[in-house]
Amino acid sequence: MNISTSVLLIPLLPLLGFIINGLGFRKISKGLASIVGTATVLGSFLLSIYTFNYFLSNNSQPITVTAFNWLAVGDFHISFSFLIDQLSLLMLLVVTGVGTLIHLYSSGYMHHDEGFGKFFAFLNLFIFSMLLLVMGSNYVIMFFGWEGVGLCSYLLIGFWNKNKSYGNAARKAFVMNRIGDLGFLLGIFLIIAHFGSVEYSEIFGRAASVDTATLTMITAFLFVGAMGKSAQIPLYTWLPDAMAGPTPVSALIHAATMVTAGIYMVIRSNVLYTLAPATLEWVGIIGLATALLAASIGIFQNDIKKVLAYSTVSQLGYMFMGLGVMAYSASMFHVITHAFFKALLFLGAGSVIHAMSDEQDIRHMGGLSKSLRITWITFLLGTIAITAVLPLSGFFSKDEILMNVYMHSPLMWGLGVLGAAMTSFYMFRMFFLTFHGTFRGTDYQREHLHESPISMTLPLMILAVLSVIGGFINFPEIFGGQAWLANFMEPLFANAKQASPEAFHHAHLSHSEEFMLMGVSVGVAILSLIIAYVMYVSRNTVPAEEGTPIPAVQKVVYNKYYVDEIYDMLFIKPISALSYFFYQVFEFFVIDLLVNGIGKLVKQLSNLTRRFQTGTTGFYVFAMVIGIVVILLVNFWGFLFR
C-alpha cells in the first residue's frame, strides 16, 4: 500500500465509523455498531503498525503527508497535513492500540445501555480527533484535534445526560478546558506573530533566532493549554468529576490518551521549551505540586473511580515534572506505560463496578478476589505497575523521571519519592479494600457477583501483559538494556540540542547512586504497601461511613482541600452575582429601555403619518403623478430653465 494513503486512512477510518454509527445509531443493531466501532479503530491500529514498519525500514526519515491546503490568507498558509515521526508514531500506536482494546471492552460493558450506538459513535469521533491532534504537522491541526477531544470528552462525560449532576460535571470539564484552550490559542497567535508560520518544521528550525522573553511567553501560554487538558494545578478539578462518564470513557479519555495531550504538546515543542528555561522551571514545579496534592487527596477517597482519577492527576504531575527537568523521553516513556496500566486499572474498576451492580464505593466492596479471579489478578498487576515496584513497567518509567529530577534538584526528588509513597499507599488501600477482607455489600449484590464476559476480560489480560512487559521498551542501561525508546526518540531533540547544547549537558550518575535511588523509591513503595496491608487486611479497618465524625485534617483532605468550594467562592459566585445584577438591572433599565424606546418612537411617528393612507385610489395616483413631476423637474431643472 502507498504510504501516504495509509497515513491518510489512519484518521479517516474512525471518522468513517463515527459517520456510520452517528447517522444510523437508531437503526443499526448493537452487534453491528460495536463491530463497526471496534473494527475501524483496529484498522487504524494495523495501519499504524504498517506505517511504523515503513518508517523503520526507511531510515527513520520523518514523513509529511499533505491532504490539502486548508487556509490561505495572503502569504500565510495553513495546510491540512500530517507529520509522521518518532513522537507521532508512538502516540499513534498507544492511541489506536489502547483504543481498540477499550472499544472491545465497551462492547461488553455498555451492552445493557440503550445509547449503545451513540456511545460508539462518540468514541470513534474521539479517536479521530485524538489522531488529528497527534498527527498534525502544525499547531492549528493540533488545536483542531485538541478542541475535538475536548468536545468528545464533554459528550462522553455527560453521556448519561438524564442525570443532572453528570451533565454539570461535563460542563465543568468543558469550561475548564476552555480556559486552558484560550491560553493555547494565545500561544498559537504569538507563534504566528513571531514566526509567520504554524508548521513545526519551520518554527523549530528558526526558534533559536527569537529572543528568550518571547519564547517564554509562547511556552507559558501553550502550557496553560496543557494545564487544562492534562489536569494540572490550578485547572485539575474537572478530571475527578469527569468520572461521571461511563468507565471505558474514563479509561480511554481521562487516563490513557486525551489527558496526555499536554505532555505530547510539550514534547513536540521541546525546542521552544528548551530555549525557555523559566517556563520549564514552572512546568516542573507545577507538576510536582500537582503530583503531591492529587496523591494526598487520593489517600482518603472512597469512590473507586475517584481514587483512580486522583492517581491519574498525580501521575500526570510526574510526567510534567519530568518535562520540567528536560527528561522528555522519560516522560514519553511514562505516558506509554501509564496508558497501559491506568487503562488496565480503570477497566478493572469497570469490571468490578459491573459485577457489583453499579456500586462504586470501596467501603461496600471487599473480598471480591474469590469471585472475580481474572479481574483480581490483572488489577493486582496494574497496581504493582503503578506503584513502581520492580520489574513492572511503572518502575522503569517513574524511576527514570525521578532519576532525572534528582540530577536537577535532590529536594524535588525527595518530594517526588514522597508522592510515590502516597501513590503506593492509596493504590494498595483501594486494592485491599476492594478485593480482600469480608464482603460488605448487600445480599442482592452478593448474589449477582459474576466475572465479566470475555469481551471485557480479554482487554484486561492484554493490558496486564503490556503493563508487565511495557517497561522493557526502554530497559535502562544499568541493567544491561539498550534504552531503545530513548535512542529512538533522540532525533526529535536534534533541533533543541543544536539551539542550546549546554541545556542537555548534565552530570551522569554513577551506577551505585542509581541503584541507591532505585532502592529508596522501591523501598518506600514497599513500606507503604506494608502499611496499607497492616491497616486494611490485618486490622480489617474500613473507612468511616458518610456522616461519622473524622479528624479535622483528614476531613480537609477528604473534601479535596475544599478547592472546589474555594473556586466556587472566588470565581463562580462573583460571576453569577454579576450576571444576576446585569440580568436584573442592566437588562431592564438599559437594554429594555433602549429597545422599547425605539419601538415606541416608531409607533408615535407612524401614528402621525398613517392618515395619508386614505384608501382612495385617485389620491394614490395623484400622489404618484406629483412624485413623477417632481422627479422630472429635479432632473431637467437645468435643461428647462437654462
Binding site: 386614505t614 384608501g615 385610489t617 385617485g618 395623484f622
Partner: protein, 108 residues
C-alpha cells in the same frame, strides 16, 4: 444611416408634442374619472402615447429596436387589459357598480 425624406416631412418635435398631449390626457383621465372602465382606457391611452414615441424615435433613427419594444408593450398591455377587465367584471358582480371611489376600504 440616412433617414428617408418622406419621414422627414413631419418633424420629430410634432410627434413628441402629440405623444405628451396624449399622455397628459391619459393621466388626467385616471385622476378625475371614477368609472373603472374609463380609468382602464386612460391607462391604455398612456401606454399608446409611449408606443407612439417609441415608433417615431425608431423611424427617425432608422433603428428597428424601438418597434420591437412596441410589440412587447402591446402584448403586455393585452394581458393587462384582460386581467383588468376581469377585475372590473368581478367588481360589478359584487357591488353592482364600477365606481372606483367606492373602493376605499383599504386604509389606515
Amino acid at each position: 444611416m440616412e433617414v428617408p425624406d418622406v419621414i422627414k416631412t413631419i418633424p420629430l418635435n410634432w410627434y413628441i408634442f402629440f405623444a405628451t398631449f396624449l399622455f397628459c390626457i391619459g393621466v388626467v383621465g385616471v385622476l378625475i374619472r371614477r368609472n373603472a372602465l374609463i380609468v382602464l382606457m386612460c391607462v391604455e391611452l398612456m401606454l399608446n402615447a409611449v408606443n407612439l414615441l417609441f415608433t417615431s424615435f425608431s423611424a427617425y433613427r432608422s433603428d428597428p429596436q424601438g418597434q420591437i419594444f412596441v410589440f412587447f408593450i402591446m402584448v403586455v398591455a393585452a394581458a393587462e387589459v384582460s386581467v383588468g377587465l376581469a377585475i372590473i367584471v368581478m367588481l360589478y358582480r359584487n357591488l353592482k357598480s364600477v365606481d372606483v371611489g367606492i373602493l376605499n376600504k383599504l386604509k389606515w
